[in-house]
Symmetry: C2
């Protein structure tokens, strides 16, 4: 018979660290396909309503994802950097994206399971828990990619299927 | 001294069920502010690149969120319904949104912790785990709200701050 103590010590994950990185990398693969779908010039120039070109949104995502996970894993804080050399080349953006994918995977496995609920001040300025910071990284990518989808549609280009990861 | 057995049975949440509903409801409050930011006519008519008006995207989100959580909590499957009476009124959309907020909160607490990792075929057709289904609901809302932000910007309207929940 199960005692109430046993019941209390029985634990169930909503999502494991491995589930979460797989979920995010699925999103990152979709974002990569969205980058590929852009004509090179439009990636760096096309805008709507005074917003940034999609390449500039990607600079923000590149500044957050890899460096953010590195900071969580190592405890070493760096200021936010959203500038990367790309020379207006789509292939360079894709290379930067792939490097970030590797950096995220490398440092992800160094995050201890007990860290996710701990407090952090990421990039020396944003306060929250480790999990809420990581969710912000993912949500922010989904948000800006959704905007990139409108840019693509406005160019007459069909974006990659949202549900394929 | 901690034995290796103790270590193995020590468990750490990435995110708890309560964290996750708070995270989602924070997003849902932001989506509500995005709805409020639309001029009534634009909410139902404004489009870019042949996409749906924001109101139609909201019909999809209303069809998924409340009914999806109800199905997960009760085990009773219903086909996806993305049509709700709104009479082209913004106040009606906001009322539907608030009803969905209550429905999600009501059924969320009926989901058992051990369910999140279990398999489900949501709306009788989408196979995945319970957690991956819920993450899809949230991600899909962020994706479409990001598109709504471009609609707002294209109308010369500043969207609500993304980081405020």
């Amino acid at each position: 018979m199960e005692t109430s103590q046993n019941k209390n010590t029985k634990w169930h994950d909503v999502i494991t660290p491995t589930d979460l990185i797989n979920h995010w990398q699925g999103h990152r693969a979709l974002t990569r396909r969205a980058i590929e779908a852009f004509p090179e010039e439009a990636l760096f120039n096309h805008t709507i309503g005074g917003m940034r070109p999609f390449s500039e949104m990607l600079m923000e995502l590149l500044g957050i994802g890899g460096p953010g996970i590195k900071e969580i894993a190592t405890g070493i804080s760096s200021p936010l950097n959203e500038h990367f050399e790309h020379g207006n080349k789509k292939t360079k953006i894709l290379d930067l994206w792939d490097e970030a994918t590797d950096e995220i995977n490398t440092y992800w496995v160094q995050i201890e399971p007990e860290q996710f609920q701990k407090n952090i001040k990421i990039f020396g300025q944003y306060e929250g828990t480790v999990y809420s910071s990581i969710f912000y990284f993912i949500d922010n990518e989904i948000h800006h990619r959704g905007q990139g989808y409108v840019y693509l549609r406005s160019l007459g280009i069909e974006p990659p299927a949202f549900y394929e990861r």
